[in-house]
Amino acid sequence: MAENKGVMVCGEIIEGKLAAITLELLGGGRGLADALGEEFSLVLMGSGIGNLAKEGIGFGADKVYVVDDPLLKDYQTDSYVAVMEKIVKQFAPNILLMGQTAMGRDLAPRLAFRLGTAVSMDCVQLSIDPDSKLLLQTRGVYGGNAKATYVCEGTKPQMATVRSKAMDPRERDDSRKGEVIAVKSGLDPSMIRTKVVNRVKEEVAGVKLEDAQVVVCGGRGIGGPEAFKDLEALAKALGGAMGATRPPCDNGWVPASLQVGLTGKIVSPTLYIAVALSGSSQHMAGCSGSKNIIAINKDPEANIFKEARYGVVGDFKKVLPAFTQKVKQLLTG
């Protein structure tokens, strides 16, 4: 049997565009392919994919496999797993990567089991071992308290999902040459056991958390929904976005889409202001990429102070209004 070769990215299309995570995977995956001296490809599944293949080449792919089929319009486990199974069997990649997204969390494990191989989920670092040439897969465990490095020795492809913002995209270069290959999905409707009957968007207005350069985040210590309005005002003054740890979301104080953390959004702003949150590892998994963390918490032992650059130990109800007022003064003065 032919050897598995090549690094392959399973791409994601969101509202007709390549998802940010796909561009990041093209950036990071390119490095892995170069280290191995193997080909680098991108798989795009969807309906009406258009010019996105060319964009994939511009961001680093050598080949783009395009599977364009109305049955692939919405992500569904059965259709996407079946198509990826077909692609993997046909093109035999050595390494298969995808994003740790709602799609990746669902597709990757099911596909790995289908193929009889293994996947490491939510990797924060990938590299090629210089001796074995195997993919070293490093991921957070125990809520992020520790890191674990795995290797998949016996089966192919070696699979990994990658955390948002763990890799950087390359500069788009439209002079890059590459091949676009149309692949038939091989699907028929009877293969798809689930049905998407509705989609509900719960977007918050203003700057998107994932893109914000300033994030103001509140934790359990905020105590209720009312005080989050003050965090929102501060975020607005700084041109940023508001987030929350899991407890305020679980308690219904703020919408679930504001959750920053291991099972929520991953943010990496220049300025991250953590208000009345302890800094649990599950939360830090979502914001540790921030360039500057500022903490306001009345507990001097709170873990957040081990992560922050500047902090105030005090009751946010007193600290925050004075901080916000001075910030507004400085911004207008």
Partner: protein
């Protein structure tokens, strides 16, 4: 009256303070911290809750199963005290040292032995290793559809309607039974066991099955059946120091913090 199975895992409390966390790098194992309790993994409690809500509405039976070792009976019986009808433990040295693959295989074989199920619930990921694979893996071994990241589950005649969490919202998905569903925290608080439930659970006999009982191919179990190899387990060293800004009271400190950020060119 659906027949439901819920997979639960016993782990060290994930809410334990980060400072207490230690790793034995040579053994590639976490050192159990003194004073940290064992609990049912939180997303698994929500999986039990999801099953209980369906039992409340439609009746039926809930069987909880757990693969592990060193079970603390008070802890692992929690699904029973919440309202599950049966609990089966899978404990046997061949099950140990596995990864998602070998764990999912063992649980799938146990579920095949139980048989006659309409719904299987799992937590979206275990709060120790955070892999989030076993649910999908069980469904693949059983050849049934799976829906992950559920925040709401409704049981309709011969099918389910699930609200699945996606970025910035949710999608509504239907699937025929039998089906496996993984549950996320957006489902809501799991119910507290009532005294009556706790007392009934305490009296309940809990069978333990081994590899032979479930007819498992031992080459697919435990460390031998694992498809990944753990090379390194470590606690990342945290560098960096926090500068605490002080003032004559919290308001003054707040104002000084803003000035410090201006000085550092951060605002």
């Amino acid at each position: 009256m659906p027949n439901m199975i819920v997979c639960v895992k016993q782990i060290a409390d994930p809410e334990a303070p980060a400072g207490s966390f230690r790793v034995d790098a040579a053994a590639k194992q976490v050192i159990p911290a003194a004073g940290v309790n064992q609990v049912v993994s939180p997303f698994d409690e929500q999986a039990v809750e999801a099953a209980l809500r369906i039992k409340d509405a439609h009746g039926g039976k809930i069987t909880a199963i757990s693969l592990g070792k060193n079970f603390v009976m008070d802890v692992i019986k929690k699904p029973l005290s919440m309202g599950a009808d049966e609990l089966i433990l899978l404990q046997d040295p061949p099950f140990e040292g596995g990864d998602s693959y070998s764990t999912a295989y063992a649980l799938a074989m146990a579920i095949k032995k139980i048989g006659g199920f309409d719904l299987i619930f799992c937590g979206r990921q275990a709060a120790d290793w955070d892999a989030g694979q076993v649910g999908s893996g069980i469904a693949e071994f059983l050849g049934i559809p799976s829906i992950t990241l559920a925040k709401k589950v409704e049981f309709l005649d011969g099918k389910v309607r699930v609200e699945r969490v996606v970025t910035d919202g949710y999608e509504v998905i239907e699937a025929p039974t039998p089906v496996l569903i993984t549950v996320s925290n957006e489902l809501g608080e799991p119910r507290y066991p009532k005294l009556k439930g706790i007392m009934a659970a305490a009296k309940k006999q809990v069978p333990t099955w081994n590899a032979q009982d479930i007819g498992a191919d031992t080459s697919k179990l435990g460390a031998g059946g694992a498809r990944t190899k753990l090379l390194k387990l470590f606690v990342p060293v945290k560098e960096g120091k926090c500068e605490i800004i002080e003032g004559e009271g919290p308001e003054d400190a707040g104002a000084k913090l803003a000035l410090k950020l201006r000085e550092a060119k951060l605002i």
